[in-house]
Symmetry: C2
Subunit: 773 residues, 2 copies
């Protein structure tokens, strides 16, 4: 754990130059706009620790799979969202010496991410080896107003001495991925252009053939005067403009650099360059300061809908805004072909591809903070991949339309290649089904089921029905050889969560069929015919639901994570020496596997999803048993614990888990922020407040709250959109205050008392003492 980020309600601040943490800060200070983004790399040359990264959503490369021991069924490639043209880079030579922050004296340094305005600032004071002192400030942004554009302002001031400066600023397409499996480069150059006015670089990805055109125009102003380009550099995959000038002590020069980045995914290839030129012109014409204003306005609109205010706890306030900010930097819902990569535009690991994180963690956030079409599009994304999921299941020996969604995908095909995950972490299918249920529950949009949902559910149900088998020994259905959400167990039998979600899927699919049988029998008939559905299938499902085996310990009154769990040595995490944590960096894999330690909520994940089927005592017993053995080395773990702890009235624990999930990256809890931010778990952070502290649930078409207020806070407030209502919820020491600024009336249940919130109505309700269980 680290603690170097300065706390501030609207800003993320690093106030000293910390080269040892540079890759962590590059992740934390990442910027993006849902279409593209980048790590907070320095503009200048830097020979210290750094992971260069600029990414364009959806532009991927199928990197040839690397495995030690090939197993039948492994995919041929892993899709990677790839590092693309570096448009911010520049080379600054001062009195003949190339500026490299790792090689000069840094006298002061600040990196500051203004989340309110969506701008990254950096200021640095430098003493060059020849004694010249410089002050450099840079600002940059990825525009939320025009998501194909970005801009940089870079200012050099001479504080002492005299500086003869050579500034070369350009576009570098000779980039690579650090995680390239075979040290391949993924881009070919198609064309480039460079003159005094303008530079551009047209690259195409190998194999996948995505064209990405980056066009830049820039101006250097010194003493109020534009300085002309001195020389143009034009070589393979690199174009740049050079400026040569001298600054006396106290003088400054300022570079404004405008970039547009267009891809063949969004425009016909033939128009790409013309389109880029026009767009670039309009961006540059605005000038940097106007772009800054537009950016602030754009972000103001996002914040208006999604901000959470916490009073009395700056660290908590900063953290929730950081989480929301990064979520909307990663995914805005503007483009329904995209999805939410676990690391967004902040690193290479997990390749910017789609995991079950989207369904299990992100959909609730987007459902509540923006228009419902966004969550619907995320569901349709999986609907579009149904055929591929059926093919994926067939590769593993399943048949008759059984669908297994990939663990990792960008186009519906499986990318992951580790048998214990790829083939066995099949609970993902359950989360994809649950998201459909969750969406319909939240929005009331039952039309989704007949239009798209049922077909997906059918494929998933068929998978589960084939994946279980009848145990003669148990006289029940069992599910062998799975990996649950807790990936610190592999190839276990009867993972409780997986058995439970599988049975739930079979049950829910049956129910949806029954519902459609009365609401839209023609459509149902059509779906059942086109999917060759036989009534016997549903009977089989019911038999499985009725006879599924669930491991449990009757004595303790808990569900067992899997068969044999009680053979382990059950030693709480608190007795592990700190020097052995995180386990995944200190212990060998076999030791982790045979230990009792839990990477992320597993039984608790199931109790979270299906909590209305379990009484509070059952939930408490399981929480009390498993929580002490959980190491939370998955980013997705603390949020679920926080929500359950809040429900159980364990406020201190809930608060502790809130900090852990919300400041996971800011404080580098798991010693891995340098790889990139944990974007998808940030939606879990949002849930800890809204579902955890505020206790929001949707039941029978009504929104329920059961709020608690952490003792560290004076108040918190958030906004959700729900079936046309627009609820601003504030929880303070008096109780809860709800305002409906939407157009629809809505039923709100506060501590089990039902209210009707009229459009523009308000409601103030004090705490109910019994609510704290």
């Amino acid at each position: 754990m680290k603690d170097y980020i300065v706390k501030d309600p609207w800003q993320i601040i690093e106030d000293q130059f910390r080269p040892e943490y540079n890759e962590i800060s590059e992740s934390i200070f990442s910027i993006g706009n849902g279409r593209m983004g980048q790590r907070a790399n320095f503009e200048e040359d830097y020979s210290g620790k750094s992971l260069s990264g600029s990414y364009v959503a959806g532009v991927y490369y199928p990197d040839k799979t690397r495995v030690g021991w090939w197993k039948n069924g492994y995919p041929e490639y892993f899709a990677k969202v790839i590092n693309s043209t570096n448009w911010i880079g520049l080379h600054l030579t001062v009195n003949g010496i190339l500026l490299d922050l790792a090689q000069v004296t840094v006298t002061n340094f600040e990196r500051r991410l203004d989340m309110k305005a969506g701008v990254l600032h950096r200021t640095v004071g430098i003493t060059m080896p020849d004694g010249t002192q410089l002050a450099i400030t840079s600002r940059r942004l990825y525009s939320v107003a025009e998501s194909q554009s970005a801009a940089l302002s870079y200012q050099i001031r001479v504080v002492q001495g005299k500086a003869h400066i050579l500034l070369e600023s350009g576009l570098d397409g000779d980039i690579s991925n650090r995680d390239s499996n075979y040290d391949e480069k993924f881009w070919d150059e198609v064309a480039r252009s460079a003159n005094e006015e303008y530079i551009s670089l047209q690259l195409k990805t190998k194999k996948t053939g995505f064209d990405v055109h980056t066009h830049v125009t820039q101006q250097l102003v010194h003493d109020g005067q534009s300085i002309a380009v001195g020389q143009v550099i034009d070589r393979e995959k690199y174009v740049a403009q050079q400026y040569e000038f001298t600054l006396e002590s106290g003088q400054e020069a300022s570079l404004s650099k405008y970039a547009v980045i267009l891809t063949s995914e969004n425009h016909p290839l033939a128009d790409l360059s013309a389109h880029a030129e026009t767009l670039l012109q309009s961006v540059a014409d605005k000038g940097f300061e106007k772009l800054i204003k537009e950016q602030a306005a754009g972000w103001a609109k996002i914040w208006q809908d999604s901000d959470i205010q916490i009073e009395g706890d700056v660290a908590a306030q900063q953290a929730i805004r950081f989480n929301i900010f990064q979520l909307y930097q990663t995914y805005t819902g503007e483009d329904d072909r995209l999805n939410i990569g676990p690391k967004g535009f902040t690193g290479e690991k997990y390749g910017g591809v789609t995991y079950w994180d989207t369904e299990a963690y992100c959909i609730p956030f987007y459902m509540a903070t923006t228009k419902p079409e966004i969550a619907r599009n995320l569901l349709i994304y999986r609907y579009k991949h149904l055929q591929k999921a059926i093919e994926n299941a067939a590769k593993l020996g399943f048949k008759d339309g059984a669908a297994l969604y990939p663990m990792v995908t960008i186009n519906g095909e499986e990318c992951h290649n580790e048998w214990e995950i790829t083939f066995e972490e099949i609970h993902r299918n359950g989360a994809i089904a649950f998201a459909i249920y969750n969406y319909v529950r939240y929005t009331g949009d039952v039309s989704y089921l007949q239009e798209y949902g049922l077909e997906v559910l059918l494929g998933i149900a068929r998978f589960w029905a084939q994946r279980v088998n009848w145990s003669e020994a148990k006289q029940q259905y069992v599910m062998l050889g799975v990996t649950g959400p807790n990936e610190y167990e592999n190839n276990v039998n009867n993972n409780w969560y997986t058995n439970r979600i599988a049975a739930w899927c079979l049950q829910y699919t049956s129910e949806v069929i029954d519902q459609l049988a009365s609401s839209n029998p023609d459509r149902l008939q059509h779906i059942l015919q086109t999917t060759s559905f036989a009534t016997a299938e549903k009977e089989k499902w019911q038999h499985i639901v009725a006879n599924m085996y669930y491991p449990e310990d009757a004595e303790r009154g808990i569900y067992l994570q899997q068969d044999g769990f009680l053979d382990k040595e059950l030693i709480p995490v608190s007795e592990l020496p700190a020097s052995e944590r995180p386990l995944n960096q200190k212990w060998s894999w076999d030791r982790i596997l045979r230990s009792c330690y839990i990477k992320q909520a597993d039984v608790l994940q199931g109790l979270y999803f299906l909590e209305d089927r379990y009484d509070l005592d059952t939930i408490r017993r399981n929480y009390d048993f498993y929580e002490p053995m959980t190491v939370h080395e998955s980013s997705l773990s603390p949020c679920v614990h926080a929500i359950i702890a809040a429900k159980l009235g364990k406020e201190d624990k809930a608060y502790e888990f809130y900090l852990r999930t919300s400041r996971l990256d800011l404080d580098d809890y798991n010693n891995d922020t340098e790889d990139g931010l944990h974007i998808t778990s940030m939606a879990g952070t949002w849930m800890t407040i809204v579902e955890g502290f505020a206790g929001m649930r949707i039941r029978d078409g009504k929104v329920h709250f059961q709020p608690i207020l952490p003792s560290q806070w004076d108040s918190y407030s958030f906004r959700i959109t729900f079936r046309g209502a627009d609820l601003q919820v504030k929880v303070d020491q008096e109780g809860v205050h709800v305002t409906n600024s939407g157009k629809q009336d809505v039923q709100v249940v506060l501590w089990d008392t039902q209210y009707v919130m009229l459009s523009n109505g308000t409601l103030d309700v004090p705490y109910v003492v019994t609510s704290k269980a």
Copy 2:
């Protein structure tokens, strides 16, 4: 399964040109002499399917590990015995056309491995595109008399037409491994030399720095006259001599090529070239025909000690000789730094490195067919690696001198990188301990225990004592997260075999301590002191032995392969469609794992090792339960089944398994012979006859036999050396006939009746009817 090898008692014959099977034949017709060897690649250019391979024992390269998802504890490299200089290759140009067997008309073809003489023959009839007809014959050998030398005789005869011939024969060091992880080449050239008399190539392996010098001299004779070298070719990593001559119809020319291959492992580097020149001179001076004679004499000596004769069944006779031949081609015991690679010198897969195969399968063969020092050296090989085994265990979190021997090694360090094998297939430790017991049982050499054995046993016992844990739920010791010999299960709990062998190790180590306490207390004290042994350790071991949990099914009266085995669908292999076999090529890994199918004997392996602790009914019940679910996709499986089937009186099954193990490669049962031969399982084939059909066991220092004769055979006979006796055993329809040609008298037990066999005594005993259980 394939059936193209012509059956013959002493020869392996391929009588047609089968390009589609060429890589299989290249494996089958491999030759070697324990120090080096090669696949049966053609001398000429060949553009068809082929895996080039010439190998020198002990010369390896640490190829950088390739994994998809790195796990803590994985080794940095996989040691590979690497393809080295090709000394047989030549380019033959006839009337301007390069001869490539894939591009010409082959009119007749024979590849023939003369196992009696240790010579590979090939004859081929060719019609060139211009109509010229050639008959080519080649013979080659790796000398068993001088193991650093090899020779080739290559004869070209013109059958029709007139041939202007350019023959270029040389040394090619520009070779690579097909299984190179990152397409690296492993060799650097140090020097080369080429003139009219002589060519040589000096290569050094990258990283490991092994020097391998290959020197060649050759003569071309035409019409009784030597033809002078026309031109010398000399470029990086390639040297050759060219001959140019014309053959009229009916004429022939003959090339004799002599090679010596010396490494810095066997000679001081400074002397290597001088030594090579002297050696090459002596080899070449003999001439090819004399080398052939020496080779036949060398092999006659090996056969005298190790041959098994089977009368009445050519396929069975050919097969056992093929197995014995390949074993002695791979390992002679001459060099105690070497061990037995699972594929010997016949392919790349498994890298020529050491597995538990040596201890579990090979040691019995070498103990019985050659002098006891050889088996002892194989044990000492592991003793020398003890410190590395302790370091290996420490990497996985074990302490206080616990030793985990690697799954795969060449120098004591672990090479394998698949967590479920590397970290979990820990039963290998048991086989290494069992081999010590087995060696002492066979040879009576108790001095081994105090000199070397106990230290290894202590390290292994300490590992097991830490690897088990106390289960509060079971109130017994359990062992979680292991992979048994049946690698079609991973990360299981309480694998019966592993639990059993672990407890046996603890028990045996305790017994050895007790024995030494009376026989050599000083030495014991010294060992216990240097290993910081505490008496409490032994008490703990006893507690574990007394309280180990063994999964079983009381109803069926069987041991369970692991916890939960009875939850599987138990469908016999006989109900699987042939199109789905072998499973490892047709099914995804998860499907294999959750099925009941067994790759190799697992419970049965334990019952085989420890059979004197189990009654026949127990063994039968387990055999009857597991055998129908066993797919034998490990080469190590059928032999154990054959031995147990023979013991149980299931003669037909025993014979079936004998054929399967002995002809595994000849008939390509598992569709993988092209990768190389299954050398170590060939020792298992030997065991199926000696321990299976002849029922040999060692008990209380006496050798027992309980022979049966497969109905397909008239007789079989073999020879074993046992404690100074030299027993020739023949089993025929009358009974068993034993001759002791050794210097020692020995006690022999035939069907439970004890006899004393005097030196030079003979014994003829008819069958005992009750022996067939």
